[in-house]
């Protein structure tokens, strides 16, 4: 199957700081989604982004499919951004997930 690597594995930020999370994948994929797992364990869709750039408030994402990576930008981070961020790529009719980036935003 496809290998999905996320970096960094852990990230601690002061509230208000910006950050970039990275997702590398080992082969061509049909699609890609970013998720946020909140402290209650729920997986929240952030972006459905097979290519290009999308923005939603303080979050934006860019996928460069030809170079097999995607980036998630978080600006002006807030404590509610804490949790685990997962990248998932779609291939062979299923999702392959990365191990996640655990983000802790301190007040």
């Amino acid at each position: 199957g496809i290998q999905v690597e996320q970096s960094p594995p852990d990230l601690i930020l002061q509230e208000g700081a910006n950050s970039t999370l990275r997702c590398n994948f080992s082969d061509s994929v049909n699609n890609l989604q970013w998720f946020h797992q909140n402290p209650w364990g729920q997986l929240i869709n952030l972006f459905y982004i097979p290519s290009g750039t999308k923005q939603n408030g303080r979050l934006s994402a860019t996928t460069v499919a030809t170079e097999r990576y995607s980036l998630l930008y978080i600006s002006s981070s807030q404590t509610t951004d804490s949790g685990v961020y997962f990248c998932a790529v779609w291939s062979f009719n299923k999702f392959y997930f990365g191990s996640g980036t655990k983000l802790n935003v301190k007040p």
Binding site: F35, G41, Q42, N45, N93, K94, F95
Partner: protein, 117 residues
Amino acid sequence: EAGVTQFPSHSVIEKGQTVTLRCDPISGHDNLYWYRRVMGKEIKFLLHFVKESKQDESGMPNNRFLAERTGGTYSTLKVQPAELEDSGVYFCASSPRFTGGNYNEQFFGPGTRLTVL
């Protein structure tokens, strides 16, 4: 529109017991998926239904796991007998029928946290 729902939210059972997890997809979604995350590892695919048919069950770990989707609506995932290594979070996701391709955005449920003692 209601999202994907899962029941129960938490389940604590002893080794050897049976547990049944339920998933209600978004109404009208033909595709239903089960995933799980065990012991802080990555989330892994278990199986995929298209309506009531199993499309792909390559991720099912062993024959102690049985998934059904009678009538093509809700789905159940039964673990019998449960083992310690089955502990983790079980997610369900659904998506609309594929049109013009093989992918639509998937929507995940809140998960069921299973603890096997």
